[in-house]
Structures are given as structure tokens and as C-alpha cells.
Amino acid sequence: MIPPAFEYVRAASVDEALAHLAKYGDDARLLAGGHSLLPLMRLRLAAPRVLVDIGRIRELAYVRAEGGELAIGALTTHHAVEQAAAVATAARALADAASVLGDPQVRNRGTIGGELAHADPAADYGAVVLALGGTVTAAGRGGRRTVAIDDWVRGPFTTALQPGEILLEYRAPAAAAREGSVYRKFARRASDYGMVGVAVRLGLGADGRCTSARIALSCVSDQPVRAQAAEAALAGRAPEGDAVREAAAVVLQGVRVADDPFCPADYRTHLAQVETARAIAEAAARARAA
């Protein structure tokens, strides 16, 4: 559990960090909260030659409500996400995820940018941001660019982030009236990765029918998945009874479901359906109250 030797540089600003990345190239890895990278290094599964520590770039730690959007800086800790009033009103599912992610030590150190950039298929935010929608902004030597959240994750531990780029911000559309979101995580123990994580964002019309529905899952496959068949099953219908059952039944349609000795695929599929139904009910209740 002792990592191999590495060099360490600390960046005081985004520009400085970009300069370090340009200088060291593939030898460098960014260090934010360190709660994914350092364990990999201790297990000698990762051995970067240089760590560029961006953890003290305070300008990247913020939560702001801006013109119908919620903007969260990449270095915002999970704890700050969990506590922020703006998150609770605009994107409640993010706060749900932040409150069950790891343990208090992880939540105090780990950052939303680190989690989105690491793109662990079992990471909780992976499902939440897909369900909420929105964009990720990254900076490189050539300037800034924005990526739609549906295009962010490209595979297991792989994102649209290019070599030499730094993730700056996640931006979600803020919840409108009669809109609600939820994240439910089913884990063996507190602080574990989930067996299933389900995020649901629902908008309801005055008649109680869904005007919008986004559903996404983490921990079920080799990357977070949008459940578009389930979303379609809810479209224009009240989120109850048969509509919920039909949506849950197809929630993993077309997904290659992860299978391991502690959570076989058939159970995981069943669990995803149960948890989806429960998440839809909770999101609907929140939407009605919003």
C-alpha cells in the first residue's frame, strides 16, 4: 500500500495547471480530492510520474444559481454539494447522491469534478447528472468548450475530456415548478459502492401527468446509462400504477448488466426495476410538492 515514487507540483490557478499538463503530458495526472487516484496509486494500479495538485484552486469551488441554471465548480466537495441550499432547491438528486457517497471523510475531501472526470461506472453522480441533464465545461490550452452531459461519458473510466484539459464546471438546468428529482442508492453497506443507483427527474403538468422524465442508472453496467425506454413509458402519463410498472420493467432494456459473485446480474436487474419504481414515486412526490 505504498505508491511508487512520483513528483508533485501544486497549481495556484487553472492556467498554471494547464501549463503543468502541457509540460508533463501523459506523465501527469491531476490531483483534486485524491480519493480515487491515491488508492489506485497505493495499490500500484496507477503510477503517474507527476501529480499536478489543483486542490487549492479556490476559484473552482462554488455552487451558484444562475439564470435558471445551477453551476457547480469542479473542486466543490461532496459535502459542500450536500449542504448547499441552491442544490437542494434546484437539483435535489445531486444532494441525495452527495449524502450517500462514500463516508464523511470522503465527502469532505472528494470533489464533484474528480468524480465526473474519473467516470467510475459505480460512481453515484454518474446517474444523477444524466438524469438532470446539463453540460460540463472544460478548459484546455486552446480555450474553453462545453460538452452536453449525454456526450460526457464515453466508456468505463473514459470521458470526453481530452489530454491536457481540466474539467471546470458542471451546469444543470434548475428545477422548475412541479419538477422534482431523486437519487436512490442500494448498497450492501453504508459507504459502499451501490449495487444499483437510480436517478429520476420528473416534471408534472397541472393534470398530474409527466411533462418530462429523465431516468438514469449507475452501478449497473460498465458506464452510467440513460433509461430512454423507461422515460418513454412515462411520457404523458401520470407516474403511478401501470405506467410505473411498465417503466420499471424496461429500465435496463438493452443494457449489458454487470454480473459479479456478490451481485449476480439477474438480481441486479430485478433490483434496478424495484428501485426505479420507488425512485419514480419519490420524484413524483417531490414534483407535486415543488
Partner: protein, 800 residues
Amino acid sequence: MAAVIGQPLKRREDPRLITGSATYTDDVRLPGMLQAAFVRSPHAPARIRSVDASAARALPGVVGIFTHEDLADFWKAPLPCAWGAYPLLKNPAHWPLAKGVARHVGDPVAIVVADSRAAVHDAIQQVRVDYEPLPAVVDLDAAVAPGSPRVHEDLADNISFTFDHKTDGVDAAFARADHVVRRRLRQQRLVPNAIEPRAVVADYRRADGQLTVWAATQIPHLLKIFSSGLLGLPEQRVRVIAPEVGGGFGSKLQVYPEDIATMAAAIHLGRPVRWTMDRREEFTSTHHGREGVMDVEAAFTRGGEMTAMRVNWLSDMGAYNMLNGPFVPILGFLVLPGPYRNRELEAHIKGVFTNKTPTDAYRGAGRPEATYLLERLMDLAAAELGLDPVDVRRRNLIRHDEIPFTTATGMTYDAGDYHATLDLALKAIDYAGLRREQASRRQAGGKLLGVGFSTYVEACGLAPSRATSSSAYGAHLYESALVRVQQSGAVTVITGSSPHGQGHETTLSQIVADRMGIPVDSVEVLHGDTQNTPIGLGTYGSRSLVVGGQAVVQACTRVQDKMRLIAAHKLECRPEDVAFGDGRLFVQGAPTRGVAFAEIAATANLGSHAGMPEGMEPGLEATAYFSPENFSFPAGTHVCVAEVDPETGRVRIRRYLAVDDVGVVVNPLIAEGQVHGGVVQAIAQALFEDLPYDADGQPLGASLMEYAVPTSMDVPDIESAFFVTPSPSNAIGAKGIGETGTIAGTPAVVNAVIDALAHLGVRDIDMPLTPPRVWRAIREAGTGGSSRPFAESGEGGRSA
């Protein structure tokens, strides 16, 4: 002065432990100290064709890399097994570093020594070992089947030992039985996971051949004796110090390969060497606990009375016999009759070698396995006979007026009231109310409710010499104490036992303060250094109070007898009339005639000896050894109330109540802590923990990320109540508290879950009862798929 026994005093150990100012083995720093790490086999098993250390040796800071052949001159004997004298035990040589063949993932192949931890961890990655993987023996049934590959090629099969026992009336009882319950019950493999990883520092002084060892151990004296023997060093030249030790649960009741290899490297290099284990190594290189398969059948009358029991038990030894590994199921055998009246028992135990990490004692050591079997049987019998599980237990529990009661395994229960603890528990939980709620929930749908019981008795106070000698165990399991009254009246107690979290310093002080009538704070308790403690056997098997405490009492008594003589001389009374209390010695019946405790202390120590009886030796000190006549028998009733979500299979424990008769409770705060910790480990086995292996002998989920040690968020509040019948085995009246939780708790939890699902037809779920397994059991119950055939016990090898 208020009674000291029974006071919930805070542990005096805690301030230094909680503030991080205590010294553990890994905190020891010596000039010139080197760091060791081990190259371990990634295969199970594999022939070692060659080891190429040239690249590693060239790295900066690397001092030495040694294989078995390099250090073979340093070890004079293989690692010990305390049951070596048992005639039916096969004990293949187990060397500190693999000789020719590595037999399990994690088996140490080479020790690397460097000048820093970073350097040594870089170096172990560069040691190139050419392995030839061999077929692995993993499954227990397959291991004992004819034609199985062998773990030890020089043995005819994979049987480490056989143990057979049969009482005269078993066959007749089965022939008469109204009903026979048959089951195959499994114990999964558990990883002890003490919070402090194992560690050893070895310092060899060439000038005089002195080896000083700091070790995270439960048994400093045994480690010293074995180390001197294994390394061929004079016993007086070996000193073992157990500084603070952060938990063990049996995992530090061992003489490990790494201990001896580190010592050999230190002797070879003439420099101090430290080895501290990584947490990941815990999963493959610290001994594991429990794994086994038990085929059981039990004869019952229609009314639920058990009349005979047969058990075939395959107990997984892993790749080698460890210090007590083979004896663990034997300890389980001793308590197989449990608190029940049935005296007809047939048991056949086989220790089985497999290509997995060796097993040995883990909190409870055999007794949890036996209790699980018995308590599951009680619930299965109730279900199959249509009776209430409480009624079945009542029908079978030995009554208070039947004690002393001698069991089918020769145990004589000497104190206890098993019905009384059950009554207390039932009253506390409102059993009738829970059954009503269970019925209404089954009607309503949603979460289901179950109630699980475990009425248990276990054997502590390891161990009476007649038991160890009659079972060919290689040691008397006595304990020792030295009590010294100093000049000021302060008292030093030196115990031969070796705490690693139990709070000996507090508890033993309470015993001495109580007997001597002095403040608890004036008593200090020392332990753990073989240079200045009387020979003791260590701390395990809930023995430190029951056996070690009695040694303290005896040493105390001897010192007090001498103090009485001095006081009688001063007070001009008879010694037998002198009493102790309030810091004084006084004439019984005339309390104003007295003398201060401190004055007697001064008189005997640095005083002019005026006031000493003519011809008496100075000094106030005595050493005592206690070898118990009988085990002690903690008993009680644990009840678990569990909710099961039938949609997800998730279990939530709503209530957990432990009513334990552990005899006289010296410190209720510490005793409750032991119950809490033990019950959490029981819940862990029932619901969370498992280290399975694949067919190639690779452990699955061998890290804390996957091996699900429950967190504080995953366990309920635990209610603990004590019911007291004093043990006659020692003057304190204590029975032992360290293992009751793991022994009683696991079946209570499993019984609760299965009780919740009983109406669906679920009768068995293999541990741990994870959500996927519970869900699957519910799903399969509808199709009648959950019962398994009883594996017939078959052929010869049995003794009558």
C-alpha cells in the same frame, strides 16, 4: 467503601489509545532499523521453479532478499501445531518461506529487506518468480473425494485429521424417532480484520546473541518459547514484548511465517528489522476463520424433544495446520450438546487441507459453528413439526435443578439457569406481540417481520489440564500473576495474560482493589513483556478474567496473608481476625483497632522492619499460577427481531437483545462493550462477510472494499442484560464474556430472517444472508427448490 466489583469504571487504557499516544509495534523505532516485505505467491498452488532477485537487488536501498533456501540454516524446525501429539493428525512441514511449492495465494516465497518502506515495496515488485501453477484443491467435498489433487504431495490424501465420537444409544434413538431433521449447514470463510495489522520488530544483538522481538501478538510467552525453539536460540536469549496490540480476535494467537522469517533476517543481517502488514495482506496471509460443511441429522419426538444427533463435519484447515487450527472444531465438538438435555451424540470431524489461506481460531473458535448448527436445528425442528421455536427450546433446555449436568461430550455444566434467561428475554421483547405483528404484516404485504432465538451455552476459561491432556493438546492452559505491594502501598499486578483491547488494566485493578480494600487508582497492571512477566499462556478463549483473574486473586491472597501476619503482630490480635477495608487493616469486630495499609507496606519494604514478626522475610510480593479444574460455562438467550423487504431481500435488524449469564460481572461497561463487539461480528457473519474462492484458489473480493465488514451505520443498537449465576470455577465467579456475542448471535440473526420468510416456505439460506441470496431464496421457495439432500455419512473410520 463502595463495592468495586460491578462498577462501570471507564477504561484507564483509553486516554492513551484514543489520543494516539500509545506505542504499537509499528511505532517502535530503533537505530539502523530496516524494513521487510514479503514476495507472496499469486497462485494456489504452484511449484517455484526459480527466483530471480537480481533486478530487485540492484534497486537503491535494498539490503537483502532471501528465500527458504537462503535462510534454511536459521530455522531448526517447522512452524508449530499445538495438537501435534494427536495420533490421527498428519502434520506436514510448514516452513516460514515456501519450500519448493507455494500452497495458497499469499504464501510467502521470499522476504525482502530494505532501508525504507518505499524501497522495500518497490523491490518486491521486481522479484521475478517463475511459477508452475498446479491444480488447486478448493471445495471441501471434492478435497476428500478419491482422486483429488493433493495439497501436500507427500500425504496420501487431503485429510489433516479425523476425530470420531459416538455414544451408545444413538442408533436406537434414531430408530425410535418420530421425526428426523436433516440438513447440510455451511460456515463461510471469515477474515478476522483486527484494526491493527500484524507487525513484528526483531532486534538481534550479535555481541551477546540477544534477540528482542516486539510483536502484535496475543501470546508473547508462547511466541518466545516457539521462536527460541524454531531458531535454535537459548530461551534466556529471547525476549518478546507485546506493546499495545490493536485487537486480535484469535488472529494474533499464532506463530506466523512472517514472524520467524523477520527474526531470521534480523539475525542474519545483524540489524533490527521491522515488518508491518498491509491491510491487503490480511486477506491472504493472516489466518482465516470458520469455513466448514456440516451434515447433520437429529432425531426428535413429535413433541419436539431431541433424542439424538449425528454430525459429519468437514472443517477447512486451509493449506497448513496452524498453531491451533485443527483443535478449533474440537473445541466446537465440546459444546455440540449445547444447553439441551439430549445425551446421544455421534460426531465425525475431518480436518481438510485445501489450497486456501490456513484457518485457525477466530472469536469463538469452533463454538460459533457448533451453536449455529444446534440453533438452526431447533428452528428447523420447530418448523417441520409445526411447533413454536421457543416451545421446542423449552422442551429441551436443561433445568436449573438438573445442574450439575454432564453432557455427551463429558462437559459438566456447573452453574446456570437456562430457562430463566429465556424467560427474561421473552418478557423484554413481548414475544406474543411480535407474533401478532408478524401475522398482520404477512396479511398486509410490505416488509416482513421475523423473530430469531439462540439459547446457548459455551465453554470458556481455557482450559482445565485434564481436558487438554486427555485430548492430546500440547500445553497446560494455566495463567499466572504476580502481585507486589510497594513501599507507599501502591500495588503492582503483573499478569501473564496479554490484553489487546479487553481492558485488563481496569478490570484486574478492580479485583485487587476490592480484595485489598484500597483505591482502584493505586493499583497498576503490567503485561506483555516476557522479561518481567511470569510465564502465562496469553489472552484468548475468554480466559483472562476466569483463569488470569483467579491467578491474581491467589497472588493477592498470599500477599494479604503475609500482611495479616504483620498487622496481627502490630495489633496484637490473631491473623485470621485481620480484615482489609478503607485503606486499612483492622481487627474484625473492632474497626477502630487498625493500621494503615500503607504502613504495613512500608514496614515490609523499606521500613526498619521494626514491627515485622520475628524471622519474617522482607518484601510483599507473591506469584501464583492457576490451572482451572473445570471450564466455565457462559450461557444465555439472544433474540433478534428482523425486518425483511421481500422485494429487494434487504434485512434490517429492528431489535437485538442479549441476555447473558457470564457469572459475576466485574465491570459492566467493559462487559457490555464485549457483547456489542461480539454481536456486531455475529451480525457480520450472518448478513455481510464472506471470502469465497474460485476454482483456481483465487480469493474473490479480498479487500475491505469488497469484503463487507459492517459499519456502525449497518448495525442496530444492541441491548445487553446480564443474569448472574456465579461460576464455581474461580473465586471471582466470572464465566467469560469475550466470545458470547459471536457464539450466540449468528444463529439468532439467521433464525430471525428465516422466520420472517417461513410462511413462504423458506427453510434455509446460506450465510451471509445478503440481499441477492434472500431474494433468491424467496423466489425459489415457491418452486420447492431450497431443501438439500442430506449427504449420507457412510463408511468406516468411526469408533464406537
